[in-house]
Symmetry: C2
Subunit: 201 residues, 2 copies
DNA sequence: GGCAAAATTAACCATTTGGTTAAACTAATT
DNA sequence: AATTAGTTTAACCAAATGGTTAATTTTGCC
């Protein structure tokens, strides 16, 4: 009944590095800290991954090679713009509830090194925007600025996770309260989307 | 006609420290970098402000001792909840256009050291929320969850500045384009607020 | 068992970095 | 001019940190 699977050193390093880098960012992370968390010698980090830079890059790329392709595929299940945006909100908030440090990690990295933006596949956004114009012609949506609109929806999904420390203090919420608020937020954002997109008349 | 005002060393340090800390955060900033930017010897930093910690704390506190009291006062000019929220959006986005690094600075600092949240006066938020309930009784607003609503409005105001590097790359915007988008965003957010709050009937 | 290759470690190194010290310079005071 | 207090600097220090090396242990293979 016991689990004797041996965990490879490489995956132990990756798990530890992910945890440390996501919490503390590049500058705030120490190689020693990662080694300790992985339960290995610091030199092994350099044996498997050449440098701190290389290890960081690996973690960064891994985090996006998983989610974005799946998001893109899932969004194909929705046909109209409104449906696509709703589904996007649901999937994105769902991901962030499981990975609450992700937004800060991305923002932080891109602020220091904007070149990393190229590692994030953002074509999905363009594709969703495209559906707006077809829907508009078919008069299935109210006329609005779709760029501003998408920016708003993304903001509503992501920002709460970034402002959690401040927000929880301001209105006195526990961690559990916050997670429940985020669960409820999925429906909240969807409701907003529907109100804002519904065709007039 | 020339300006011979001597700029005090202390204010030169503060200006330099603000610039460096806001761009790079605590971990990413070097005391030497601040000294260079201020055009002085590094030891002078410690002569005027004891340590990196002390200097950082000073900068952090200064940034909020200006804006929040003024915001609170300005918001008194608005009476209804809808007006207050609209004015808040206008003032906040206006501030951020002038201080685009501020959101990242705050988020970054609070992620690493949540205790700093106590240095940010958040009572304004509670006061605005209070107006919602009085307006609801007078049937001047649609019934909704005001916490989620405020979270959405704040998100729409702040998040674009955080995601600028990614967003500009995704839809291929220049810095100037982005600033124009943010200018237009004030009216955009106001429009959303009105649509979402307008009483039914 | 013996051996070579891979994995792992302890000890070390060079650089960076926040911080200190003692000396030098400046400006006001007498 | 001499004295003194405040300001500024060059040189230095200790700790932290990313990275390396050479030796040791483990593993797979004959």
């Amino acid at each position: 009944m016991e689990n004797n699977e041996k965990i490879s050193t490489e995956s132990k390093i990756l798990a530890a590095a992910e945890q440390v880098f996501l919490r503390s960012g590049y500058d705030g992370s120490r190689m020693q800290e990662i080694a300790d968390l992985a339960g290995i010698n610091k030199a092994l980090l350099h044996y498997y991954f050449r440098s701190k830079d290389a290890l960081f890059e690996k973690i960064f790329e891994d985090k996006f090679s998983q989610f974005f392709p799946r998001l893109q595929e899932e969004l194909n299940h929705a046909t109209s713009f409104a449906e696509k945006v709703c589904l996007y909100a649901e999937l994105h908030i769902g991901l962030l509830i499981k990975n609450p440090y992700l937004p800060h990690f991305v923002i932080n990295t891109l602020q220091k090194n904007p070149d990393f933006a190229q590692k994030i596949p953002t074509e999905v956004l363009m594709q969703v925007l495209q559906t707006y114009y077809t829907d508009l012609e078919a008069q299935k949506v109210r006329e609005l600025n779709p760029v501003q609109f998408m920016m708003s929806v993304m903001s509503m999904c992501v920002f709460p996770f970034l402002s959690k420390p401040l927000f929880c203090k301001a209105i006195n919420l526990s961690d559990k309260d916050f997670e429940l608020l985020m669960q409820a937020r999925i429906e909240e954002v969807k409701r907003y989307i529907k109100v804002l997109l519904e065709p007039i008349g």
